[in-house]
Symmetry: C2
Subunit: 492 residues, 2 copies
């Protein structure tokens, strides 16, 4: 796809922006519902195409489509409720600094957004997915850069979604698709694009972020790059439920053939008899772990190379591995073991695929010190026993500053799409520590505040008018108003 | 100040973080009130010192101190109300994707923040000011880089505020002060610093932003760089109130000797008799404008140089000027005139000081096209007549995407500190289009989300507990709960 085509598609997105915003929240919610319906109507074809390209399996892909449709409808709820706009009204008043004018603030769409599809969730972080759903919900046209791991799936989803959008009277430019690395780079540099959503490798993200920052007018770049997702087992938890944790850990580490951004890649285990029991159970579970087909040859080769490097690393021992049947692109689970005192920074990097590193700690001070060396993470998990209150508090203190989501006695894979989800974290997990890419709050990435001072009523968006015709929560003079049957207040 | 001292101060801020956050919202509000009280108790000394260094005058400086104290107390209200934390609880539930765990999300402080004081508001955008107040409110220790234009004022304010903070039992590291360009650069690069607030020149901001981005762990940089603040007078407004607008404009352009970030620097006037009448009134008003002393010799020299360049620019004519009495550092108001057809990009840059450029437009298409060439602005202002509904809508469409605050029939200087204020804008007005540096929402810059999954109650911050002991608005399963006398709900 050449630069002329990218330019046309980005311009079309720019042209579509006014129509998409102009629909208003309630109508945009209806469009999102319509897109979800269209994807569900095409479920059989989409799942079959995606399975052919990704080998992820019908069951998983069908569930992924369900998730994507659930997410589109959830953003419909967000739009209908409306508090995401932060509609705020300060009526004219006297202040110690003199009279204050009428001020009204809310969030408005940024404009067209570039979304980079990921390889590992062809239906939930790709053409359809969190970035696209939240940006459309915000009122921003989207141009997706298709991931080369599933081009046909990308085109099918795109045409399905574009048809649905057009059927609701929106311009075709509301949802665009570009393909190819150069097209992606041109898109990020295009003047019509106002923000970027990216899920993928640190290197790819860095290159695109540099383009976004070097533009004549720099734009926000929301990148989710990588995370090792440490999981800590306390002595009490190892004593109480070694076998259960071993099973759960291997399940979480191997789901999707280890190709989840929240895959737990570091497992901290105590020394001693309980730790050894857990190690033995882990070795058994890994041996029996299903062999999966990886997403692409490149991802498979990178996994193979990393496993080979770790096999030859003298600091590491192999704790357990599944026997590889050497079919094309298969990834067999393997878990290495290292002493905390041997843990160097190179072992703290994300390793994509069904592999993890067990880190043995000899005492709690060593555990906490080692955790303190970790970089930013999407998740951090603690398995503890009920009585270990002080230890849990200590682990909480060291992990809270390093992770976006803290999981207790559970596993980090399986990111719920909900109001309270945060999927993000300090660098390098994401490039913007203040934002999430999953959950309702992800809409905030595509919005900017604007204030109106003494504006005539007909200039104001409906959400900022006294009569509140669309029924949005309004904060008036600092207090959020109840939305009554009259949908509004009379303030001036 | 050398690197060792900066390191000590930044580390002390890091050490103070837990205590400041641990106070909790309500106690932190009390501390902010105490800091405001302390500044007011020292009002006479602070104003006298600031006047000696800045020549801004007792009246203005006293009002600025009032503003700063008002702001500290307003953030106290924000803390007591608590909705800025976005406390959100999703109780365990069945979903189409399977069971959802207990998820609880809120915002937590980032950690120590570096604040760069500005020259033009020694008491409201400097050691005390919006960045410091919002960061302390968020629970983040602050290290201020003092502006060299008012070192004694900075030290006096710092010691006053630090004493107040320490009197409330907080560590001295809660508020630090560094001086010197190299100290400022070292601060932005220091591992303990987690975010930067900056108000100043585009060049200075860019250099610091590059340091923030090049760190091993990049941190958010919130910079307010520059804005020309266009003000448009429609034909109807020119016809109805030429003299009034001329007076108002010159007042806004010359307040603080033109050294406000919201100073209107471009004035769009219609051609024809009404436009000429407004020009004549403007020339009269400029001639009578008070001569002020500028903040520093460097700022004065830059202003002088820019005026000299404009005097020799053949595209420009002088519409009016005040006679300069050539006392040291004085800035005399001067307004130039240019045809819209002659307006090149170099004339669209911010020009600090009491000067503005009148841009004459011959028709509305030319006006709208010219406005479409503007970069991002903190403000844009429209003066119109009541009947010009279509024109107002057209101007709104072109200006809304280019400015953070839209002012109608008023003036952009005088930024209210309130809930509905937005002080920010697309690049280059600010480096982060999604955030404000004035008003209650400015606290959002120093916070990051975190989610707890199945966390034991004693790990959860009080704001995320079922019993809601601190009385914060909680969104539960998507719906914000009323805070009743029981301050809570029982959900699980």
């Amino acid at each position: 796809m050449d630069a002329v085509e990218v330019d046309e598609i980005a311009r079309a997105a720019g042209t579509a922006a006014a129509a998409l915003e102009g629909l208003g929240r309630h109508n945009r919610a209806t469009v999102l519902d319509g897109v979800a319906d269209a994807l569900e109507d095409a479920r059989a074809a989409i799942v079959a195409t995606a399975d052919r390209e990704t080998s992820l399996g019908d069951g998983r892909l069908s569930q992924e489509l369900t998730r994507t449709c659930f997410q589109l409808r959830l953003f419909g709820d967000v739009l209908r409720e409306g508090s995401y706009l932060e509609a705020t009204i300060d009526l004219p008043a006297a202040t110690p600094m003199g009279p204050r004018p009428d001020l009204r603030r809310m969030l408005v769409p940024l404009g067209p957004v570039a979304v980079f599809g990921a390889s590992n969730f062809p239906l939930a972080f790709s053409v359809p997915g969190g970035d696209t759903a939240s940006a459309l919900a915000a009122g921003c046209p989207v141009v997706v850069k298709a991931h080369p791991a599933h081009p046909e799936t990308s085109r099918l989803c795109w045409s399905t979604m574009q048809d649905a959008v057009v059927a609701h009277g929106l311009p075709v430019g509301t949802l665009g698709l570009v393909e190819g690395i150069r097209a992606g780079a041109a898109l990020v540099g295009h003047p019509a694009i106002t923000a970027v959503g990216f899920t993928g490798s640190a290197a790819g993200g860095r290159a695109l972020q540099d383009i976004a920052a070097a533009r004549q007018r720099p734009i926000p770049f929301y990148g989710e790059l990588g995370s090792v997702n440490p999981l800590v087992v306390t002595p009490g938890a190892a004593s109480q439920r070694a076998e259960e944790i071993a099973q759960g850990f291997v399940g979480s580490m191997t789901v999707g053939t280890g190709q989840f951004c929240t895959k737990p890649g570091l497992l901290f285990l105590p020394s001693g008899a309980d730790g050894e029991r857990l190690r033995a159970a882990l070795a058994d579970a890994v041996r029996l772990a299903p062999i999966g087909v990886m997403l692409t040859s490149a991802i498979h080769d990178a996994f193979d190379g990393e496993v080979a490097r770790r096999r030859s690393d003298r600091r590491l021992t192999i704790l357990g591995e599944a026997s590889d049947d050497r079919a094309p692109r298969t990834g067999a689970a393997i878990v290495f073991d290292v002493a905390a005192s041997d843990l160097d920074d190179d072992l703290l990097e994300e390793s994509f695929g069904p592999t993890a590193l067990v880190v043995g700690y000899t005492d709690l001070d060593q555990l906490v010190t080692t955790l303190g060396r970790l970089g930013g993470q999407l998740t951090a998990t603690v398995h503890a026993a009920a009585g270990e209150t002080n230890l849990i508090a200590r682990l909480h203190r060291v992990l809270r500053g390093r992770a976006g989501r803290l999981v207790f006695d559970g596993y980090p894979t399986g990111v719920a799409v909900s109001w309270a989800m945060h999927h993000g974290g300090p660098h390098p997990a994401t490039t913007s520590v203040a934002h999430t890419s999953v959950g309702t709050a992800s809409i905030r990435r595509w919005l900017r505040p604007i204030s109106y001072q003494n504006a005539p009523t007909d200039v104001l968006p409906p959400e900022l008018r006294d009569e509140n015709p669309t029924g949005v929560p309004q904060r008036v003079n600092g207090t959020v108003q109840p939305i009554g049957p009259a949908h509004g207040f009379t303030g001036r």
